[in-house]
Symmetry: D2
Subunit: 196 residues, 4 copies
């Protein structure tokens, strides 16, 4: 996978569609201009949340796993990803998680957020080659497994959501398709949930 394949999409917000209604880009607290964002990314690790949407049986067992298919704006490649996005200044982790779940899965997914904000896994992305990689920045993501009970309707740049069994999702072919090395993170989350 080349850097271009997932350079633009790694959970970053596009101000065109992600802003709360009625707010202009310039005045929204927490939102940064492109220049400010680039500058900040060179200074500190950026805090992200990521979520693996799952469907569960009545007894809590994970029945299936939702992976997002995203197209790259610079290449023709399609990659698989998790729900992910940045935590804004002043934003609580659970609010960021809820916001990105709604952004990526639509308003009728009905995610069931965890009681605790201690994540299932912590993912460290570096701008240089490493276990996990993000060409744009040093990002630290707190990753959660989130059951959804409703209908998922991916929006915007998330082309589609595909549902796989945990075993299918953990297969080598799927892992290799995931952007930034997230195959390892996906397996870690599946094991955390006792789904493998």
């Amino acid at each position: 996978m080349t850097m271009e394949a997932f350079g633009e999409e790694f959970g970053e917000e596009s101000s065109r569609w992600d802003l709360p209604e009625g707010l202009s880009d310039g005045t929204e607290p927490g939102w940064l201009s492109d220049g400010e964002l680039a500058e900040t990314r060179g200074r500190v690790p950026m805090l992200y949340v990521e979520a693996l949407p799952v469907r569960v049986e009545p007894d809590g067992r994970v029945a299936s796993v939702g992976l997002l298919l995203r197209g790259s704006s610079t290449t023709s490649l399609i990659t698989r990803s998790l729900v992910s996005g940045r935590v804004l200044h002043g934003e609580r982790i659970r609010d960021a998680l809820m916001r990105h779940l709604e952004k990526d899965l639509g308003p009728t997914a009905f995610p069931v957020l965890p009681q605790s904000i201690v994540p299932a896994a912590v993912a460290e992305y570096f701008p240089w080659p490493d276990r996990l990689h993000d060409p744009r920045q040093h990002a630290v993501a707190m990753a959660f497994v989130v059951p959804v009970s409703g209908e998922c309707q991916p929006r915007q740049d998330a082309l589609e959501i595909s549902w796989l069994t945990p075993q299918e999702a953990a297969a080598d072919g799927i892992a290799a398709d995931m952007e930034g090395g997230r195959g390892a993170l996906l397996r870690q989350l599946l094991h955390h949930a006792g789904a493998l």
Copy 2:
């Protein structure tokens, strides 16, 4: 609190009402006669599950905590407790958890079971005085925080369920009322859920 105050109630099943319908006591796998149960309790640690029922906000935060009020059959004392009960031979932990939640909270509580069976806390009860105490046995309980979305209607020996804020539930007076030293376990579960 005297030992008699909670001797009979610690999550033990009464064969009168807890058996799946249509099965006679003598043939149910996993169920033991009083003599067999007493003998087994002298030989090995007994495996239990416990659950703290909670109501959560849409963002996952714990809003309130359900504590069971149980009356003792040998004394007039009322004590507070968690949902709890034994894991039967051949029974999965999540099935035991579901069975005891339904037994103690009724069929319309709609508990949301955890994906993982790694517990929020592990509680060790000894028949001699210790941090946690059960006069009948050495019991090891895997304890979970379980959101409920429906109506809780305690059955049988569970007289009532009272809902408290996490702060109220963690107060010293409540902790002292809990059977077997479970006040410490309750606080541990509340901290695990980030509710304090």
Copy 3:
């Protein structure tokens, strides 16, 4: 793998060598005769602890993973396993963990026990075919990752300990060699430790 291949070895204590010095078999609390043990196994789930010994870097990262090679007493097969054994009546989980680590790794392994007894994984073994399998019993094991800083000298039925990188240990060939389906548990523990 046939059932015979791991029937006798699954972490069970042999009274010949496992008893604390100076105590005779008949009087040791918690120890059961063969008949009592067989009877009890038919009545309740048996509580076990399991441990994956690891060597760690100064920064905490898992450098290598110790797997036990055990020979079967009834077949010529060699299987790989974890440190494991039963929790006795009246015994604390951390005492059981310490006892079995010393039994399987010798007195100079210097294991570093976890602060919390909440396990890294919970393993359910059933006497019928399932994800994890133990032909003798329904066993529930609380599994931990335990760093060791000293010299491991396996004793008795544990023929040898072999040290692998986390990646080697997670490979399909190793997983298939592990008794009772513990390949899945091993990977779960490695992911819990962030070692993959």
Copy 4:
């Protein structure tokens, strides 16, 4: 507690003493000028690590808890705190944890870092009054319980380390003395470690 009481000390690095040897302030990657730091704090949540140093028994149980006493540079108040500090750009979480443990406890503390970087607790500090508070910034701290086996010799602004039993550390008087509301975090960490 007033804001001034802990305004300067919250785990922030002083460039005078915290820089790796042989590196000048201006060229050290990850280090920011005062102006850059102030600007960045207004844009994004700042990532921190925190650690509760503990002494453990051979069986892993927490025997005592180390709290730092820090003096304020603007007031005469002394407050209690945890080991804490910022994660720099490009720095791994475990490297940041190691660096701040050495900074606050000295070079002979011999901390035993966790295998996993999933924290024991996640602490969200806001610049406005909240459960946890930091007047300078929105900070998100990943908090760990870290056993130390050596001699702790606090350096620089950390005046002293005092060792308390877990019960003493959890007492109301101690909690009220902790900066930024960390009394709640301290109890959460003690419960995570099963020390209460």
